[in-house]
Protein backbone atom coordinates (compact mmCIF):
# COMPACT_ATOMS: atom_id res chain seq x y z
CA UNK A 1 0.00 0.00 0.00
CA UNK A 2 0.92 3.68 -0.30
CA UNK A 3 1.56 3.98 3.41
CA UNK A 4 4.61 1.72 3.32
CA UNK A 5 5.86 2.80 -0.10
CA UNK A 6 5.55 6.48 0.59
CA UNK A 7 6.86 6.57 4.13
CA UNK A 8 9.75 8.75 3.00
CA UNK A 9 7.21 11.03 1.32
CA UNK A 10 5.47 11.67 4.66
CA UNK A 11 8.72 12.09 6.55
CA UNK A 12 9.96 14.69 4.07
CA UNK A 13 6.58 16.42 4.19
CA UNK A 14 6.52 16.50 7.99
CA UNK A 15 10.05 17.89 8.06
CA UNK A 16 9.07 20.56 5.55
CA UNK A 17 5.96 21.46 7.52
CA UNK A 18 7.96 21.85 10.73
CA UNK A 19 10.61 23.83 8.87
CA UNK A 20 8.09 26.25 7.36
CA UNK A 21 6.11 26.60 10.57
CA UNK A 22 8.98 27.17 12.97
CA UNK A 23 11.25 29.28 10.77
CA UNK A 24 8.41 31.59 9.82
CA UNK A 25 7.06 31.66 13.40
CA UNK A 26 10.51 32.60 14.66
CA UNK A 27 11.02 35.39 12.11
CA UNK A 28 7.44 36.57 12.63
CA UNK A 29 8.01 36.85 16.38
CA UNK A 30 11.26 38.74 15.84
CA UNK A 31 9.21 41.27 13.87
CA UNK A 32 5.91 40.93 15.74
CA UNK A 33 7.11 41.49 19.32
CA UNK A 34 8.73 44.90 18.72
CA UNK A 35 5.73 45.86 16.60
CA UNK A 36 3.33 44.81 19.36
CA UNK A 37 5.37 46.67 21.98
CA UNK A 38 5.35 49.76 19.75
CA UNK A 39 1.57 49.52 19.37
CA UNK A 40 1.21 49.21 23.16
CA UNK A 41 3.59 52.09 23.90
CA UNK A 42 2.10 54.55 21.40
CA UNK A 43 -1.52 53.78 22.27
CA UNK A 44 -3.31 56.65 24.00
CA UNK A 45 -3.14 54.84 27.34
CA UNK A 46 0.42 53.65 26.69
CA UNK A 47 3.66 54.85 28.25
CA UNK A 48 4.56 57.11 25.32
CA UNK A 49 1.26 58.00 23.65
CA UNK A 50 1.70 59.03 20.03
CA UNK A 51 -1.51 58.98 18.05
CA UNK A 52 -0.04 59.50 14.53
CA UNK A 53 2.43 56.62 14.94
CA UNK A 54 -0.18 54.41 16.54
CA UNK A 55 -2.72 55.08 13.81
CA UNK A 56 -0.20 54.51 11.01
CA UNK A 57 1.04 51.23 12.53
CA UNK A 58 -2.46 50.13 13.28
CA UNK A 59 -3.53 50.73 9.68
CA UNK A 60 -0.58 48.80 8.20
CA UNK A 61 -1.20 45.90 10.59
CA UNK A 62 -4.88 45.83 9.71
CA UNK A 63 -4.22 45.93 5.96
CA UNK A 64 -1.95 42.90 6.09
CA UNK A 65 -4.36 41.08 8.38
CA UNK A 66 -7.28 41.67 6.04
CA UNK A 67 -5.64 40.25 2.90
CA UNK A 68 -6.57 36.56 2.55
CA UNK A 69 -3.45 34.42 2.84
CA UNK A 70 -3.67 32.84 -0.60
CA UNK A 71 -3.98 36.26 -2.26
CA UNK A 72 -1.09 37.64 -0.21
CA UNK A 73 1.03 34.65 -1.20
CA UNK A 74 0.52 35.45 -4.89
CA UNK A 75 0.72 39.23 -4.45
CA UNK A 76 4.16 39.17 -2.93
CA UNK A 77 5.67 36.60 -5.31
CA UNK A 78 8.20 39.15 -6.65
CA UNK A 79 9.29 39.96 -3.10
CA UNK A 80 9.56 36.26 -2.32
CA UNK A 81 11.78 35.73 -5.34
CA UNK A 82 14.12 38.51 -4.20
CA UNK A 83 14.22 37.27 -0.61
CA UNK A 84 14.67 33.51 -1.03
CA UNK A 85 15.52 33.19 -4.75
CA UNK A 86 12.58 30.95 -5.64
CA UNK A 87 8.80 30.97 -5.69
CA UNK A 88 8.17 27.26 -5.18
CA UNK A 89 8.86 24.80 -2.42
CA UNK A 90 8.94 25.11 1.35
CA UNK A 91 11.40 28.00 1.44
CA UNK A 92 9.22 30.13 -0.81
CA UNK A 93 6.33 29.88 1.64
CA UNK A 94 8.27 31.55 4.43
CA UNK A 95 8.07 35.19 3.23
CA UNK A 96 4.29 35.17 2.75
CA UNK A 97 3.88 33.38 6.09
CA UNK A 98 5.98 36.05 7.79
CA UNK A 99 4.08 38.87 6.09
CA UNK A 100 0.85 37.35 7.19
CA UNK A 101 1.80 36.28 10.72
CA UNK A 102 3.83 39.29 11.95
CA UNK A 103 0.90 41.72 12.09
CA UNK A 104 -1.21 39.01 13.70
CA UNK A 105 1.49 38.46 16.34
CA UNK A 106 1.81 42.22 16.87
CA UNK A 107 -1.88 42.35 17.83
CA UNK A 108 -1.58 39.28 20.07
CA UNK A 109 1.44 40.82 21.84
CA UNK A 110 -0.34 44.17 22.19
CA UNK A 111 -3.33 42.50 23.81
CA UNK A 112 -1.13 40.40 26.13
CA UNK A 113 0.73 43.51 27.30
CA UNK A 114 -2.59 45.24 27.98
CA UNK A 115 -3.36 42.54 30.53
CA UNK A 116 -0.47 43.72 32.73
CA UNK A 117 -1.78 45.61 35.75
CA UNK A 118 -1.21 49.35 35.34
CA UNK A 119 -0.50 49.57 39.05
CA UNK A 120 2.59 47.39 38.66
CA UNK A 121 3.84 49.64 35.86
CA UNK A 122 3.22 52.66 38.07
CA UNK A 123 5.18 50.98 40.88
CA UNK A 124 8.10 50.36 38.52
CA UNK A 125 8.00 54.02 37.47
CA UNK A 126 8.01 55.10 41.11
CA UNK A 127 11.22 53.10 41.55
CA UNK A 128 12.91 55.01 38.75
CA UNK A 129 12.59 52.44 35.95
CA UNK A 130 13.24 53.59 32.38
CA UNK A 131 10.67 52.80 29.71
CA UNK A 132 12.99 50.16 28.27
CA UNK A 133 13.29 48.51 31.69
CA UNK A 134 9.52 48.62 32.05
CA UNK A 135 9.14 46.88 28.67
CA UNK A 136 11.66 44.12 29.31
CA UNK A 137 11.41 43.59 33.05
CA UNK A 138 7.75 44.34 33.68
CA UNK A 139 5.61 44.15 30.55
CA UNK A 140 7.18 41.20 28.75
CA UNK A 141 8.06 39.19 31.87
CA UNK A 142 4.71 39.71 33.58
CA UNK A 143 2.79 38.78 30.42
CA UNK A 144 4.89 35.70 29.64
CA UNK A 145 2.12 33.14 30.29
CA UNK A 146 -0.28 35.13 28.13
CA UNK A 147 2.38 35.47 25.39
CA UNK A 148 2.89 31.69 25.42
CA UNK A 149 -0.83 31.04 25.09
CA UNK A 150 -0.79 33.49 22.18
CA UNK A 151 2.12 31.57 20.66
CA UNK A 152 0.15 28.31 20.82
CA UNK A 153 -2.65 29.96 18.83
CA UNK A 154 -0.32 31.75 16.42
CA UNK A 155 1.95 28.81 15.61
CA UNK A 156 -0.94 26.44 14.97
CA UNK A 157 -2.48 29.08 12.70
CA UNK A 158 0.82 29.43 10.82
CA UNK A 159 0.90 25.66 10.45
CA UNK A 160 -2.58 25.78 8.93
CA UNK A 161 -1.51 28.52 6.52
CA UNK A 162 1.61 26.56 5.57
CA UNK A 163 -0.61 23.66 4.55
CA UNK A 164 -2.67 26.04 2.44
CA UNK A 165 0.48 27.03 0.55
CA UNK A 166 0.52 23.49 -0.89
CA UNK A 167 -2.09 24.75 -3.35
CA UNK A 168 0.49 26.90 -5.11
CA UNK A 169 3.47 24.58 -4.99
CA UNK A 170 4.68 25.08 -1.46
CA UNK A 171 6.05 22.02 0.29
CA UNK A 172 4.95 20.09 3.35
CA UNK A 173 1.91 18.06 4.31
CA UNK A 174 -0.52 20.43 2.61
CA UNK A 175 1.36 19.94 -0.65
CA UNK A 176 1.11 16.14 -0.31
CA UNK A 177 -2.58 16.36 0.53
CA UNK A 178 -3.33 18.44 -2.53
CA UNK A 179 -1.06 16.73 -5.06
CA UNK A 180 -1.67 13.12 -4.07
CA UNK A 181 -4.91 13.29 -2.14
CA UNK A 182 -6.87 15.84 -4.14
CA UNK A 183 -5.50 15.86 -7.71
CA UNK A 184 -5.06 12.06 -7.83
CA UNK A 185 -8.21 11.28 -5.88
CA UNK A 186 -6.21 9.23 -3.40
CA UNK A 187 -8.41 9.32 -0.32
CA UNK A 188 -6.00 7.28 1.77
CA UNK A 189 -3.16 9.81 1.43
CA UNK A 190 -5.60 12.64 2.01
CA UNK A 191 -6.79 11.10 5.29
CA UNK A 192 -3.27 10.26 6.46
CA UNK A 193 -2.00 13.80 5.88
CA UNK A 194 -5.00 15.31 7.60
CA UNK A 195 -4.53 13.01 10.59
CA UNK A 196 -0.84 13.94 10.70
CA UNK A 197 -1.72 17.65 10.65
CA UNK A 198 -4.22 17.17 13.46
CA UNK A 199 -1.60 15.37 15.55
CA UNK A 200 1.01 18.08 14.95
CA UNK A 201 -1.44 20.85 15.85
CA UNK A 202 -2.40 19.01 19.03
CA UNK A 203 1.25 18.58 19.91
CA UNK A 204 2.17 22.23 19.42
CA UNK A 205 -0.93 23.38 21.29
CA UNK A 206 -0.24 21.11 24.27
CA UNK A 207 3.47 21.92 24.47
CA UNK A 208 2.89 25.66 24.51
CA UNK A 209 -0.07 25.50 26.87
CA UNK A 210 2.04 23.37 29.18
CA UNK A 211 4.82 25.94 29.06
CA UNK A 212 2.31 28.71 29.77
CA UNK A 213 0.92 26.86 32.79
CA UNK A 214 4.37 26.07 34.09
CA UNK A 215 5.61 29.64 33.76
CA UNK A 216 2.56 31.22 35.40
CA UNK A 217 3.24 31.93 39.08
CA UNK A 218 -0.19 33.35 39.79
CA UNK A 219 -1.51 29.81 40.57
Amino acid sequence: MYLAIDLSLYITAIKETFFMTFVSSFISYVIGIPLGVLLYMTDKDGLTPNTPIYNALSLIVNIFRSIPFLILLILILPVTRVLVGTTIGARAVIPPLVFSASPYIARMVESSLKEVDLGVIEAAKSMGATNFQIITKVLLSESKPSLLIGAAITITTILGYSAMAGAVGGGGLGDVAIRYGYYRYNQEIMIITVVLLVIIVQLIQEVFMGMARKSDKRL
Binding site: E122, A123, M127, G128, A129, K137
Partner: protein, 334 residues
Protein backbone atom coordinates in the same frame (compact mmCIF):
# COMPACT_ATOMS: atom_id res chain seq x y z
CA UNK B 1 14.21 71.28 57.61
CA UNK B 2 11.48 70.56 55.18
CA UNK B 3 12.30 67.55 53.04
CA UNK B 4 9.26 68.01 50.84
CA UNK B 5 7.87 71.42 50.08
CA UNK B 6 4.73 71.80 48.00
CA UNK B 7 3.97 75.26 46.70
CA UNK B 8 0.74 76.52 45.13
CA UNK B 9 0.11 73.18 43.53
CA UNK B 10 -2.77 72.80 41.14
CA UNK B 11 -3.94 69.86 39.06
CA UNK B 12 -6.58 70.09 36.38
CA UNK B 13 -7.74 67.03 34.46
CA UNK B 14 -8.98 67.88 31.01
CA UNK B 15 -11.51 65.58 29.44
CA UNK B 16 -13.14 66.01 26.04
CA UNK B 17 -16.08 67.90 27.45
CA UNK B 18 -14.90 69.16 30.78
CA UNK B 19 -12.15 70.55 32.93
CA UNK B 20 -11.95 69.01 36.34
CA UNK B 21 -9.98 70.75 39.06
CA UNK B 22 -8.61 67.91 41.17
CA UNK B 23 -6.43 70.03 43.43
CA UNK B 24 -5.76 73.72 43.94
CA UNK B 25 -3.89 76.07 46.26
CA UNK B 26 -2.01 73.21 47.87
CA UNK B 27 0.80 74.35 50.14
CA UNK B 28 2.40 71.76 52.35
CA UNK B 29 5.68 71.48 54.13
CA UNK B 30 6.73 68.03 55.25
CA UNK B 31 9.55 67.99 57.78
CA UNK B 32 12.36 65.47 57.73
CA UNK B 33 11.69 62.50 59.99
CA UNK B 34 8.00 63.04 60.59
CA UNK B 35 4.99 60.95 59.71
CA UNK B 36 2.68 63.17 57.74
CA UNK B 37 -0.91 62.12 57.13
CA UNK B 38 -3.17 63.37 54.37
CA UNK B 39 -6.81 62.47 54.87
CA UNK B 40 -9.94 63.06 52.87
CA UNK B 41 -13.00 61.32 51.51
CA UNK B 42 -12.81 59.49 48.20
CA UNK B 43 -12.52 61.92 45.33
CA UNK B 44 -10.87 64.58 47.47
CA UNK B 45 -7.70 64.36 45.37
CA UNK B 46 -5.43 62.61 47.87
CA UNK B 47 -4.04 60.03 45.44
CA UNK B 48 -3.36 62.70 42.84
CA UNK B 49 -1.56 64.76 45.46
CA UNK B 50 0.76 61.97 46.55
CA UNK B 51 1.53 61.14 42.90
CA UNK B 52 2.65 64.70 42.28
CA UNK B 53 5.30 64.36 44.99
CA UNK B 54 7.25 61.90 42.81
CA UNK B 55 5.84 63.27 39.57
CA UNK B 56 3.89 60.17 38.58
CA UNK B 57 1.36 62.93 37.94
CA UNK B 58 2.62 66.22 36.58
CA UNK B 59 1.18 69.29 38.30
CA UNK B 60 -0.72 71.72 36.11
CA UNK B 61 0.70 74.61 38.14
CA UNK B 62 2.97 75.02 41.13
CA UNK B 63 6.14 73.36 42.33
CA UNK B 64 7.30 70.44 44.39
CA UNK B 65 10.68 70.62 46.10
CA UNK B 66 12.55 67.59 47.38
CA UNK B 67 15.49 68.63 49.52
CA UNK B 68 15.31 72.07 47.94
CA UNK B 69 15.48 70.64 44.41
CA UNK B 70 12.62 71.64 42.16
CA UNK B 71 11.41 68.27 40.83
CA UNK B 72 9.59 69.87 37.92
CA UNK B 73 12.87 71.32 36.64
CA UNK B 74 14.69 67.99 36.46
CA UNK B 75 15.38 66.08 33.25
CA UNK B 76 14.20 62.48 32.81
CA UNK B 77 17.29 60.82 34.22
CA UNK B 78 17.55 63.19 37.19
CA UNK B 79 13.88 62.50 37.91
CA UNK B 80 14.53 58.74 37.92
CA UNK B 81 17.36 59.27 40.41
CA UNK B 82 15.12 61.34 42.68
CA UNK B 83 12.46 58.62 42.49
CA UNK B 84 14.97 56.18 43.96
CA UNK B 85 15.10 58.43 47.00
CA UNK B 86 11.32 58.41 47.34
CA UNK B 87 9.87 54.94 47.92
CA UNK B 88 6.19 54.28 47.37
CA UNK B 89 3.68 51.64 48.43
CA UNK B 90 0.14 51.19 47.15
CA UNK B 91 -3.31 50.02 48.17
CA UNK B 92 -3.12 47.01 45.83
CA UNK B 93 0.52 46.25 46.67
CA UNK B 94 1.49 46.17 42.95
CA UNK B 95 3.97 43.34 43.27
CA UNK B 96 5.36 41.61 40.20
CA UNK B 97 3.25 38.47 40.12
CA UNK B 98 5.75 36.43 38.11
CA UNK B 99 8.67 37.10 40.47
CA UNK B 100 9.17 35.58 43.87
CA UNK B 101 9.43 37.66 47.03
CA UNK B 102 13.21 38.00 46.97
CA UNK B 103 13.22 38.99 43.29
CA UNK B 104 10.52 41.56 43.91
CA UNK B 105 12.70 43.20 46.55
CA UNK B 106 15.66 42.94 44.17
CA UNK B 107 13.77 44.67 41.36
CA UNK B 108 14.55 48.31 42.25
CA UNK B 109 18.20 47.41 42.84
CA UNK B 110 18.33 45.58 39.51
CA UNK B 111 17.01 48.56 37.57
CA UNK B 112 19.34 50.94 39.39
CA UNK B 113 22.26 48.83 38.15
CA UNK B 114 23.39 47.81 41.63
CA UNK B 115 25.89 45.01 41.99
CA UNK B 116 24.24 41.61 42.36
CA UNK B 117 25.88 40.16 45.48
CA UNK B 118 25.39 43.24 47.62
CA UNK B 119 21.84 43.58 46.28
CA UNK B 120 20.93 40.10 47.44
CA UNK B 121 22.43 40.83 50.86
CA UNK B 122 20.44 44.06 51.09
CA UNK B 123 17.21 42.36 49.96
CA UNK B 124 17.63 39.65 52.58
CA UNK B 125 18.23 42.24 55.31
CA UNK B 126 15.04 44.03 54.30
CA UNK B 127 13.02 40.83 54.29
CA UNK B 128 14.29 40.24 57.81
CA UNK B 129 13.23 43.76 58.78
CA UNK B 130 9.68 43.10 57.54
CA UNK B 131 9.74 39.63 59.13
CA UNK B 132 9.39 37.63 55.91
CA UNK B 133 12.73 35.85 55.74
CA UNK B 134 10.98 32.50 55.47
CA UNK B 135 9.01 33.61 52.39
CA UNK B 136 11.93 34.47 50.08
CA UNK B 137 10.99 31.86 47.49
CA UNK B 138 7.23 32.35 47.70
CA UNK B 139 5.30 34.05 44.90
CA UNK B 140 2.93 36.94 45.65
CA UNK B 141 -0.13 34.77 44.93
CA UNK B 142 0.87 32.57 47.87
CA UNK B 143 0.89 35.47 50.35
CA UNK B 144 -1.80 37.16 52.42
CA UNK B 145 -2.59 40.85 51.95
CA UNK B 146 -0.53 41.88 54.95
CA UNK B 147 2.45 39.84 53.76
CA UNK B 148 2.17 41.34 50.28
CA UNK B 149 2.22 44.84 51.74
CA UNK B 150 5.29 43.95 53.78
CA UNK B 151 7.06 42.74 50.64
CA UNK B 152 6.06 46.01 48.98
CA UNK B 153 7.52 47.95 51.93
CA UNK B 154 10.79 45.99 51.73
CA UNK B 155 10.89 46.66 47.98
CA UNK B 156 10.22 50.36 48.45
CA UNK B 157 13.07 50.59 50.96
CA UNK B 158 15.60 48.71 48.83
CA UNK B 159 17.23 51.82 47.37
CA UNK B 160 17.55 53.48 50.80
CA UNK B 161 14.95 56.17 50.17
CA UNK B 162 14.63 59.19 52.45
CA UNK B 163 10.87 59.32 52.04
CA UNK B 164 8.22 56.62 51.89
CA UNK B 165 4.91 57.52 50.24
CA UNK B 166 1.97 55.34 51.28
CA UNK B 167 -1.08 55.53 49.05
CA UNK B 168 -3.98 53.98 51.00
CA UNK B 169 -1.54 51.30 52.03
CA UNK B 170 -3.84 49.77 54.62
CA UNK B 171 -7.19 50.24 52.91
CA UNK B 172 -7.31 46.71 51.53
CA UNK B 173 -6.40 45.14 54.87
CA UNK B 174 -8.41 44.06 57.89
CA UNK B 175 -8.07 46.07 61.16
CA UNK B 176 -5.61 43.65 62.76
CA UNK B 177 -3.30 43.54 59.73
CA UNK B 178 -3.68 47.31 59.36
CA UNK B 179 -2.27 47.76 62.85
CA UNK B 180 0.66 45.45 62.09
CA UNK B 181 1.51 47.42 58.95
CA UNK B 182 1.18 50.71 60.83
CA UNK B 183 3.51 49.42 63.55
CA UNK B 184 6.00 48.46 60.85
CA UNK B 185 5.78 51.91 59.26
CA UNK B 186 6.34 53.47 62.67
CA UNK B 187 9.36 51.24 63.21
CA UNK B 188 10.81 52.22 59.82
CA UNK B 189 10.26 55.87 60.65
CA UNK B 190 11.85 55.62 64.10
CA UNK B 191 14.70 53.24 63.33
CA UNK B 192 15.69 54.18 59.80
CA UNK B 193 14.70 57.84 60.02
CA UNK B 194 12.60 57.58 56.87
CA UNK B 195 10.07 60.39 56.46
CA UNK B 196 6.64 58.83 55.88
CA UNK B 197 3.76 60.41 53.97
CA UNK B 198 0.48 58.61 54.44
CA UNK B 199 -2.61 59.02 52.30
CA UNK B 200 -5.71 57.54 53.88
CA UNK B 201 -9.43 57.87 54.45
CA UNK B 202 -9.19 56.11 57.80
CA UNK B 203 -9.03 58.42 60.81
CA UNK B 204 -7.54 55.62 62.93
CA UNK B 205 -4.45 55.52 60.69
CA UNK B 206 -3.84 59.20 61.29
CA UNK B 207 -4.49 58.91 65.00
CA UNK B 208 -2.28 55.84 65.39
CA UNK B 209 0.92 56.95 63.78
CA UNK B 210 0.87 60.42 62.28
CA UNK B 211 2.57 63.45 63.78
CA UNK B 212 0.89 65.92 61.48
CA UNK B 213 -2.22 65.83 59.39
CA UNK B 214 -3.64 67.73 56.44
CA UNK B 215 -7.31 67.38 55.69
CA UNK B 216 -8.29 67.58 52.04
CA UNK B 217 -11.75 68.49 50.91
CA UNK B 218 -13.06 69.56 47.54
CA UNK B 219 -9.58 69.82 46.06
CA UNK B 220 -8.15 72.05 48.82
CA UNK B 221 -6.34 71.63 52.12
CA UNK B 222 -8.95 72.79 54.60
CA UNK B 223 -7.09 72.10 57.79
CA UNK B 224 -3.56 71.25 58.81
CA UNK B 225 -1.63 70.85 62.02
CA UNK B 226 -0.45 68.52 64.74
CA UNK B 227 -2.66 65.46 64.98
CA UNK B 228 -3.44 65.99 68.66
CA UNK B 229 -4.49 69.60 68.09
CA UNK B 230 -6.65 68.82 65.10
CA UNK B 231 -8.31 65.92 66.87
CA UNK B 232 -9.10 67.97 69.94
CA UNK B 233 -10.80 70.76 68.09
CA UNK B 234 -11.23 70.27 64.38
CA UNK B 235 -12.13 73.57 62.79
CA UNK B 236 -13.26 72.60 59.33
CA UNK B 237 -16.64 71.08 58.63
CA UNK B 238 -15.03 68.01 57.02
CA UNK B 239 -12.61 67.68 59.91
CA UNK B 240 -15.52 67.57 62.36
CA UNK B 241 -17.28 65.07 60.15
CA UNK B 242 -14.26 62.81 59.92
CA UNK B 243 -13.45 63.02 63.59
CA UNK B 244 -16.84 63.25 65.26
CA UNK B 245 -19.22 62.21 62.57
CA UNK B 246 -21.13 65.42 63.24
CA UNK B 247 -24.07 66.50 61.18
CA UNK B 248 -23.51 69.57 59.11
CA UNK B 249 -25.46 72.08 61.07
CA UNK B 250 -25.48 70.50 64.48
CA UNK B 251 -22.41 71.24 66.48
CA UNK B 252 -21.10 68.42 68.57
CA UNK B 253 -20.02 70.63 71.43
CA UNK B 254 -21.18 69.04 74.56
CA UNK B 255 -22.07 70.91 77.69
CA UNK B 256 -21.01 69.36 80.91
CA UNK B 257 -23.51 69.51 83.73
CA UNK B 258 -21.18 68.63 86.58
CA UNK B 259 -17.46 68.59 87.13
CA UNK B 260 -16.94 64.88 86.61
CA UNK B 261 -14.31 63.84 84.11
CA UNK B 262 -15.75 62.71 80.83
CA UNK B 263 -14.21 60.89 77.90
CA UNK B 264 -15.07 61.51 74.28
CA UNK B 265 -14.64 58.34 72.24
CA UNK B 266 -14.41 58.74 68.51
CA UNK B 267 -15.30 56.00 66.05
CA UNK B 268 -13.69 56.53 62.72
CA UNK B 269 -15.11 53.79 60.57
CA UNK B 270 -12.40 51.24 61.10
CA UNK B 271 -14.05 49.45 64.02
CA UNK B 272 -15.48 46.01 63.75
CA UNK B 273 -18.93 45.21 65.04
CA UNK B 274 -17.61 44.52 68.50
CA UNK B 275 -19.84 45.93 71.29
CA UNK B 276 -17.13 48.16 72.72
CA UNK B 277 -18.99 49.81 75.58
CA UNK B 278 -20.52 46.56 76.79
CA UNK B 279 -17.14 44.84 76.71
CA UNK B 280 -15.57 47.76 78.51
CA UNK B 281 -18.14 47.46 81.29
CA UNK B 282 -17.53 43.73 81.54
CA UNK B 283 -13.76 44.14 81.59
CA UNK B 284 -13.56 47.01 84.03
CA UNK B 285 -16.53 46.05 86.16
CA UNK B 286 -17.70 49.62 86.17
CA UNK B 287 -21.05 50.66 84.74
CA UNK B 288 -20.33 53.90 82.89
CA UNK B 289 -23.08 56.31 81.99
CA UNK B 290 -23.31 57.39 78.42
CA UNK B 291 -23.96 61.12 78.26
CA UNK B 292 -24.02 61.59 74.55
CA UNK B 293 -23.91 59.40 71.49
CA UNK B 294 -24.08 60.16 67.81
CA UNK B 295 -23.15 58.25 64.74
CA UNK B 296 -23.63 58.39 61.00
CA UNK B 297 -22.48 56.85 57.78
CA UNK B 298 -19.91 58.74 55.73
CA UNK B 299 -18.52 57.24 52.59
CA UNK B 300 -19.88 53.85 53.60
CA UNK B 301 -18.12 53.95 56.96
CA UNK B 302 -19.64 54.26 60.40
CA UNK B 303 -18.40 57.36 62.14
CA UNK B 304 -19.46 58.68 65.45
CA UNK B 305 -18.71 59.57 68.99
CA UNK B 306 -19.81 58.58 72.45
CA UNK B 307 -19.22 60.60 75.56
CA UNK B 308 -19.02 58.68 78.80
CA UNK B 309 -18.73 59.83 82.37
CA UNK B 310 -15.74 58.53 84.30
CA UNK B 311 -15.81 57.52 87.96
CA UNK B 312 -13.71 59.45 90.47
CA UNK B 313 -11.71 56.34 91.24
CA UNK B 314 -8.37 56.80 89.47
CA UNK B 315 -7.77 53.08 89.27
CA UNK B 316 -10.98 52.43 87.37
CA UNK B 317 -10.22 55.43 85.16
CA UNK B 318 -6.87 53.88 84.37
CA UNK B 319 -8.48 50.51 83.61
CA UNK B 320 -10.96 52.12 81.24
CA UNK B 321 -8.23 53.96 79.38
CA UNK B 322 -6.13 50.84 79.23
CA UNK B 323 -9.08 48.97 77.70
CA UNK B 324 -9.64 51.72 75.12
CA UNK B 325 -5.95 51.76 74.25
CA UNK B 326 -5.98 48.03 73.70
CA UNK B 327 -8.86 48.45 71.25
CA UNK B 328 -7.11 51.40 69.58
CA UNK B 329 -10.11 53.62 70.24
CA UNK B 330 -9.44 57.31 69.88
CA UNK B 331 -10.47 59.18 73.01
CA UNK B 332 -9.70 62.25 75.03
CA UNK B 333 -10.94 63.92 78.15
CA UNK B 334 -13.53 66.63 77.96
Amino acid sequence: MAIIEIKNLKKVFTTKTDKLVALQDINLSIEKGEIFGIIGLSGAGKSTLVRMINFLETPTEGDVYFEDKNIGALNASELRNIRREIGMIFQNFNLLEQRNVLKNVLFPLEISGAEKESSIKRAKELLKLVDLSDKERAYPSQLSGGQKQRVAIARALATNPKVLLCDEATSALDPKTTNQILDLLKKINRELGVTVVIITHQMSVIENICDKVAILDQSRVVEMGNVKEVFKSPKSEIGKKLIFGATENKDVDFEKTNDKTCLRLAFDGSMTNEPIIANMVLTTNYAVSILYANSRMIDGKMLGQIIIELPDDKEIQFKIKQFLDSKKIIYWEV
